[in-house]
């Protein structure tokens, strides 16, 4: 591929964004659609400013739900992968059921979860966990099983126990895979939380998250505010992805080839 000068990495998305906004205005003006069907970007920003207190509070609530579910998925995903990585019979015994869990649409499971966990944070965290757990398990298990065979032979030659092989060899070499799973989960976790909130409705204590705002703005036909909620959700998603990217960097940049500076 041809090399793109670094400044263009900022200029190009900005240009395409501007073009997109221009088309947006064009469609709005040309079609004569009304604000409550297609608000202009400016109207969305105005709505965001007007509703800033509610949006911020809601984003905070959603962030907690998403973070809780993400953390739970990360921990449980890691532990599940250890189980699956240790034994072939556990792997073949459990994997089909993990698939069943993943294949069942979240939209079906959510009412059941709300029924069991109740409305509010526990239910939202469970939905978030459900949606971000699987990619972490799949990636990490793959990582635990793709250890370099020569490294395994090296450990065998040192008379390493299976336990030592797991913690000193398989787990570290699975780290890039685990982090790749986290990256996918980070994009899914806010979506999971918002979906949970949307289904659960008002969460405990009368303070809803972004999902609840979607529900309430929609029923009130506050369409610019609905768009503004979308914008806020998007920003929240970016925060999650950026946090995991930072973690990824912190763990891998010293040794992993994906951070090799290109000097050739």
């Amino acid at each position: 591929m041809k090399k793109v000068p670094p400044i263009m990495l900022w200029v190009l998305p900005l240009l395409s964004g501007l073009l997109f906004v221009a088309i947006w205005y064009g469609v709005r003006l040309g079609s004569g659609l009304q604000s409550w069907i297609l608000p202009t970007p400016m109207e969305i920003l105005e709505a965001a400013w007007r509703e800033r207190a509610r949006l911020l509070a809601a984003a905070g609530n959603t962030a907690w739900g998403a973070f809780g579910g993400f953390l739970l998925a990360a921990i449980m995903g890691f532990l599940t992968s250890l189980l699956l990585g240790v034994s072939k019979s556990l792997r073949s015994g459990l994997y089909p059921w993990l698939l069943v869990l993943q294949m069942t649409p979240v939209i079906v499971l959510t009412p059941i979860i709300v029924l069991w966990a109740g409305p509010g944070m526990p239910g939202i965290i469970t939905v978030t966990w459900l949606i971000s757990y699987f990619p972490i398990v799949v990636n990490t298990t793959q990582g635990l099983l793709s250890t370099d065979m020569n490294h395994v032979a090296l450990f065998r030659m040192c008379n390493a126990s299976r336990w030592q092989e797991m913690i000193y060899l398989r787990v570290p070499s699975a780290m890039p895979f685990f982090l790749a799973g986290l990256r996918i989960a980070a994009t899914l976790a806010p979506i999971g939380a918002i979906f949970g909130e949307y289904m659960v409705g008002n969460s405990s204590g009368g303070s809803g998250g972004l999902g609840f705002l979607v529900y309430s703005y929609n029923t009130q036909i506050k369409i610019p505010a609905l768009f503004a909620t979308g914008l806020t959700s998007c920003l929240l998603g970016f925060v999650f992805v950026a946090a995991v990217a930072l973690l990824n960097w912190a763990v891998l940049h010293q040794w992993h080839d994906s951070f090799e500076r290109n000097e050739h």
């Binding site: 490294h151 032979a153 000193y168 570290p172 040794w255």
Partner: protein
Amino acid sequence: MASSEPIVKFHAVSKRYGKGPLVLDGINLEMAPGDFVSFIGPSGCGKSTVLKLVAGLNPWTTGEVSVAGTTPRRARDRQAFIFQDATLLPWLTTQQNVELPLKLRGAPVPERVAKAREMLELVGLDKVSAYYPRQLSGGMKMRVSLARALTLAPQLLLLDEPFGALDEMTRFRLNEELLALRTNSSFTAMFVTHSVAEAVFLSNRIVVMSANPGRFHAEVRVDFPYPRRAELRERPEFQSKVNEVSHLLHQVEEAVRA
């Protein structure tokens, strides 16, 4: 050595993987302590398999392999294996990589730190002990791998084409360093290579193998006294040894093609 009991012994050994064809057939070998034996032959002759049997990484099919009077697996703590790529763990620094075998053995931290430092000094890499493997050149990585293998003071060193991926200059220098290391820690060595000159320079015995199935075709003794220096390569008797082994290798390769 107290006894002249062979450190490695093969008696009528054959090997096949699963239901596949014979990889090794009728292998007999006795190595005395201090021997440096190179194995050379066309690809597919099973020379790497010979090392893996000694290491206990693979089982043999028939016959008997013994190492230091016991089974390969039981003798593991007296052996070290050096692979074609340096097999350093990329997430550990050079120092931590060299400490690894002692760590796995449960040696106390001060002991393993000191020992690793000593070994790195021996291979001239004490200055890069904080570097990660990806910051090292191919030759440096292989030196680290050597240092790591020697931390446990093995009696037997198994080297599977360790310098095959390096350029010739680096390979020559590492050949010399490997022999120099042997004056400090007098290990016995089994060395798999594709390079005749390397085999002649390093070994006192060279086994030429034929393929399909792998058999010992001929053995050549190399009687140049140790320590051997770089100048040896320029001597006519060295060249004629290289020619002798090359000739045997040609015979074997023609037989494979026929």
